[in-house]
């Protein structure tokens, strides 16, 4: 069989999938965003987006998504680094991945109990003499639970890029007199930046539209674009406005993908080319 023909033949399912489940839904969302409640063609929804609560909502979503991503990197990078140094890498990695198989809602409900006034977290605080604190329904609990949920998606790509790093490069750096901090800053980090970028994509983008955690853990004191979209579709039944917010969310995602996109510059340093 002609290999070129065979290749395009095998690609047919992929194209059908992309057309049905990626292009068609996005096209529908864009289409609906141009209609108001009465079904008239209009740009009113876009005007509304810029002149009301939605703009501030976007800013606050970005702020919280940024915090979630920031703390995820802060914890994930050292964890991933340590993982590459351990003996039973695969076992540890599995232990980190397993919780991400559990339903998001279940994990979230568990935290309602843990962070409650009479939950273990407060028992601990009381035992070390800090007294009972309101943990649930605060910014802290929101960030904590979100980071907990997203962290496997940050650890994995960073781990992969660290694991592929050629140890000879670090030896060379040390031989040439660099301190370990300098080695990290000038050699390790730049070579694993792509892992961090993939991690940011996998965390920041979903964090923009979280809405289960905002309600259950933050008591709706934190609201994101996801909350607004859900309300527009299910409560107000204003599909036009809901779609408009979704269009902006998609635009933000594209921008973030571009910013964190991986550009190939010559051969990659670890000797493998993708």
């Amino acid at each position: 069989m002609n290999s070129k023909g065979a290749r395009s033949f095998y690609l047919i399912p992929y194209y059908i999938w992309i057309a049905l489940f990626v292009i068609a839904p996005i096209a529908l969302v864009v289409y609906y965003s141009f209609f108001d409640l009465q079904g008239n063609l209009t740009l009113e929804n876009y005007q509304n987006f810029f002149s009301s609560v939605y703009l501030r909502l976007t800013l606050s979503s970005f702020w919280y998504a940024f915090l979630v991503t920031f703390f995820s990197i802060l914890i994930a990078y050292p964890t991933a680094y340590w993982l590459t140094k351990t003996k039973h890498k695969q076992l540890w990695l599995l232990l980190i991945i397993i919780p991400s198989w559990i339903n998001l809602l279940l994990k979230t409900y568990a935290f309602i109990g843990i962070f409650g006034l009479y939950g273990p977290a407060n028992k601990f605080l009381a035992a070390i003499g800090l007294g009972e604190q309101q943990i649930l329904f605060t910014d802290f609990s929101f960030i904590f639970v979100s980071v907990y949920i997203f962290i496997p998606f940050m650890i994995l790509p960073i781990f992969n890029s660290l694991d592929k790093l050629n140890p000879a490069l670090m030896d060379a750096s040390r031989d040439l007199g660099a301190s370990s901090w300098m080695t990290f800053r000038k050699v390790i980090f730049p070579l694993t930046i792509n892992g961090v970028k993939s991690g940011v994509q996998a965390v920041f983008i979903p964090a923009l539209s979280l809405f289960v955690i905002t309600r259950l853990i933050a008591g709706n004191k934190v609201i994101t674009l996801g909350t607004a979209i859900e309300q527009q579709f299910l409560v107000t039944q204003n599909w036009g406005m809901g779609s408009t917010i979704a269009v902006f969310l998609i635009l933000f995602m594209i921008i973030i993908m571009m910013l964190t996109g991986q550009r190939e510059k010559g051969g990659s340093a670890n000797g493998k080319t993708k």
Binding site: V53, L57, Y118, T227, L234
Partner: protein, 358 residues
């Protein structure tokens, strides 16, 4: 390549086996005729034993699904897909469903138990002559509170929620009409207000409730109050009854400025594929014994006079849950304000959530 084919075959075989298993299970549960009906109800809004009893008596298999807002329910029914046979919307939702032609008229001849219903709850403005709906439960919106966690505060007025001693103690229900309506009522306005300046005033007042607001959540309120995580909650009467069932310290009051009086009703949506079965189910739920057992379980107030007569007079004489008619006069029923207005209510609610003072 070979292993890919092997894996594909294995998955296909496993799927076929599962499919066969499901069909066998479905057959065994629906063999005895009568077919099946799909009931679409609010969460925790029926005694599951009664569903079982209905299945045993009629041989009709019941598929039970739940929703958490009238709007979500209507959206799903409008989209079709699932053939819901019985649903339990509130009064303003019925008005809208009638408008959108989503309901099948009810044949009252097939519901002999309709005579059990207190005439006060029949022929209401949202459905004259009960052409499309049969009363299921009714209740109010008010304040559930736990005096053991408070220092003697009472809640005769909505303004009592703004008491500075209630810092971080008040939970609000995550529903635009209830919360904005409370703001309107506290200012002496109608909770069906469509006056934008009144709505703005109510929202601005609500924002000052921020320091007292612990959270804005849904059904989790019941658990929070039961476990004494919070002292005060804006909630529905039946949720308050649920809380009291477990935690006897909790009390409930409807503030005197007025509040919402609501009726949930059984309807047969256009999606129904078993209209006979739906009628049978509605009639079954109106039976005196069944309605009494259901009211005991659910905790909301039943409109079923025959059931009230056989229920514990201590329950049905409780004016917090069965307010006498003159008290009900102070309360308002939600009107269908139209989508445009609903959008404004929701945008203001969103603004309230964003701008709550801390």
């Amino acid at each position: 390549m070979k292993s890919i084919i092997q894996a594909t075959v294995a998955i296909l075989v496993a799927s076929a086996l599962l499919l066969y298993g499901v069909s066998v299970l479905e057959k065994s549960s629906a063999t005895t005729g009568g077919g099946s009906i799909t009931v679409y109800n609010w969460g925790e809004y029926i005694d599951p034993e009664l569903v079982q009893q209905f299945e045993d008596e009629t041989n009709i298999n019941v598929v039970y699904e739940t929703f958490d807002s009238n709007e979500a329910m209507m959206t799903k029914i409008e989209q079709g897909g699932t053939s819901y046979d019985v649903a339990m919307p509130s009064e303003y939702a019925i008005e809208k469903m009638k408008e959108n032609d989503l309901l099948i008229p009810i044949d009252s001849e097939k519901i002999p138990n309709l005579t059990n219903i207190d005439p006060y709850f029949l022929d209401l403005p949202f459905d004259p002559g009960n052409e499309y709906s049969i009363p299921y439960f009714w209740g109010t919106v008010g304040i559930a509170y736990n005096p053991t966690l408070l220092e003697g505060q009472t809640f005769e007025s909505w303004d009592d929620l703004w008491d500075p001693t209630l810092k971080q103690e008040v939970i609000l229900v995550d529903s635009a009409r209830e919360v904005i309506g409370m703001g309107l009522n506290s200012l002496g306005y109608s909770l069906n207000s469509t006056d934008v300046s009144e709505l703005r005033e109510a929202t601005d007042k609500l924002k000052t409730l921020g320091p007292n607001t612990k959270a804005i959540i849904g059904d989790e309120i019941v658990e929070m109050m039961r476990r004494e995580e919070a002292a005060v909650a804006l909630t529905w009467s039946g949720q308050a009854a649920d809380m009291m069932w477990i935690n006897e310290n909790i009390d409930y009051s409807v503030p005197e400025e007025g509040s919402n009086l609501w009726f949930d009703n059984m309807v047969i949506p256009k999606t129904s594929s078993n209209v006979e079965g739906a009628h049978a189910f509605i009639n079954f739920m109106l039976d005196a014994e069944v309605a009494a057992q259901n009211a005991d379980y659910v905790g909301y107030s039943t409109p079923n006079q025959a059931a009230i007569e056989i229920m514990d007079p201590e329950v049905t004489g409780d004016e917090r849950f069965y307010p006498p008619e003159e008290l009900r006069e102070r309360l308002e029923v939600y009107e269908n304000l139209g989508l445009e207005m609903l959008g404004i209510y929701n945008e203001l609610f969103l603004e309230f959530k964003m701008d709550m003072e801390n």
